[in-house]
């Protein structure tokens, strides 16, 4: 049976069953939660998926290895660049091509800019979920600067499709260096403002501290990854464990906290913004000269076999699994998206808490619904 919650309304125990979504401002997309409530206490949360299922995995089977990368930007649209990176890595593994050093640095730079943009948007959205509307606009001010960098170099603001097998599509724009420097300066000035507005706000702390707790063991058994798991003390940063690209050559810390509540997840992401900015700072002055794209054949054919690559998106571990039969199109593609596993822990995290805490917990998981449904 698809759903265990059979009727909407009041069940035989006197519990109220209500819908949150699929059209609800707190779900940030078409997520449908069926919640069993005893008074104000949450007894059960049951996510219903499928409202934005576009069968991207099946679609990719009919697209060539150059073409399928664009569709992965539509999954986790807030870290589309990192998704594309993962796909390009899997194809390159099969093609056995060497990536020029310049392309590697550009990829990492763009990936970290995407991560900062994603975390900044999440910061605004979480504050808005909890009831503070102003931070949302502050977040968009900085995000707009990153979007302008993307627009200038990649040609699009959200679904960039900048990665191609063998490198990146264009060289960096001449203004890139100047704009990134301005961005770093802007963040240096404004991150304190973020702390002042939200991090040390008493109301915010009361709403988030001790809310939505999950232990490290439970986080592992639910398969959580990314900042949500690192807030529970699970070391799972793919950039550290299985370094790809330039990540083994740059200095950064994996942010780990032990509390496992919503406030810890908040602090992990705020720290990650600072870590990402320090990676950008290390790389921006040391971009090597050279080609931005390796020479590849016009028609790409992967040898028969299976290829897997994993990257760390802003939400967690993103895996690409390609099965090739030796043809121009993949035989099967599977994406391991971080949002799906993180959402599965929501029921465990919110059981027994109040319905207002459900919104805070859901916001702190940083869910992107197309990433869950694909």
């Amino acid at each position: 049976m698809y759903s265990t919650t059979e009727h909407i309304g009041v069940n035989e125990l006197g519990d109220m069953i209500i819908n949150v979504g699929p059209q609800h401002p707190a779900t940030h997309g078409v997520l449908h939660l069926v919640i069993t409530l005893n008074g104000e206490t949450v007894k059960k949360v049951e996510p219903h998926l499928g409202y934005i299922h576009r069968s991207i995995e099946k679609m990719c089977e009919s697209l060539s290895y150059r073409q399928f990368i664009y569709s992965t930007s539509r999954m986790d649209y807030l870290s589309s660049h990192i998704n594309n990176h993962g796909c390009a890595l899997a194809v390159e593994k099969g093609l056995q091509v060497e990536i020029p050093a310049r392309a590697e640095v550009i990829r990492v730079l763009m990936g970290e800019l995407t991560r900062v943009a994603s975390h900044i948007l999440w910061w605004g959205a979480l504050a808005m979920d909890i009831g503070a509307f102003t931070p949302f606009f502050h977040a968009f001010r900085e995000r707009e600067m990153i979007n302008e960098i993307m627009e200038e170099t990649c040609g699009a603001r959200l679904t960039m499709n900048y990665m191609v097998p063998g490198g990146v599509m264009f060289d960096l724009h001449p203004n890139f260096h100047k704009r990134v420097k301005a961005l770093l300066q802007q963040f240096k000035d404004k991150l304190d403002e973020y702390d002042e507005l939200v991090t040390y706000n008493t109301i915010f702390i009361n709403r988030t501290k001790g809310v939505g707790f999950i232990s490290a063991e439970d986080a592992i058994s639910y398969g959580m990854s990314g900042p949500s798991a690192r807030a529970s003390g699970v070391s799972c940063d793919i950039r550290k464990i299985y370094p790809y690209g330039m990540y083994d050559k740059v200095q950064f810390d994996e942010v780990l906290l032990q509390e496992g509540d919503t406030y810890a997840r908040y602090l992990v992401r705020m720290q990650e913004i600072r870590q990402s900015l320090s990676i950008i700072e290390q790389l921006i002055d040391n971009i090597p000269e050279g080609d931005f794209q390796a020479k590849t054949k016009a028609v790409l054919k992967l040898p028969k076999g299976e290829y897997y690559s994993r990257v760390e998106t802003a939400r967690g571990e993103f895996g690409v699994y390609i099965v090739s039969e030796g043809g121009m199109t993949p035989y099967r593609i599977k994406f391991r998206s971080p949002g799906f596993s993180n959402l599965s822990a929501l029921d465990h995290m919110t059981r027994g808490s109040k319905i207002g805490d459900l919104v805070a917990t859901m916001g702190s998981l940083d869910l992107v619904i197309p990433d869950i449904d694909r």
């Binding site: 697209l63 150059r66 073409q67 399928f68 664009y70 569709s71 503070a132 102003t134 001010r141 707009e144 627009e151 200038e152 170099t153 990649c154 040609g155 699009a156 679904t159 499709n161 191609v164 599509m169 264009f170 724009h173 403002e193 002042e196 507005l197 040390y200 706000n201 008493t202 109301i203 915010f204």
Partner: protein, 158 residues
Amino acid sequence: MFIVDYIKSIYGAMKSMGTGMKRTAYYFTHHKEIITEQYPDNRDTLVLPERFRGEVVMTHTEQNEHRCTGCTACELACPNGTIKIVTKFDISPEGKKKKAVDKFIYHLELCTMCNLCIEACPTNAIKMAQSFEHSVFDRSQLTKVLNQPGSKLEEGVE
């Protein structure tokens, strides 16, 4: 002790609210730091970067000549069937038959602006334009023929 904690928490909340209001007052009095753009009004001064992908266009010279040979490389590179090329046979003055593009049909409503067709084009016949206001009242207006009527292939493009 309960009363002390209660008053302390009220004081803390009021203090953090004051911090937030201070920030609001700062932006209220510093108009130069406001970055909001009045979009439809600033249309004349709006400059988009040259790489911005708005729609696919075909470049034409002043003599109404384009560079498209009708090789269908872009049609094959497109992931969602946005481009359809109808070819015809031109008869050259020597009496030879030569393949040429008759209609370069471009479905803007299907296009995802992924830039793969531009990358695939061997003669740089098409490029991305910066126009982004594509709303029309009828869907059929989004299907465009990119080569201008009466245009022909530029000399020397193979």
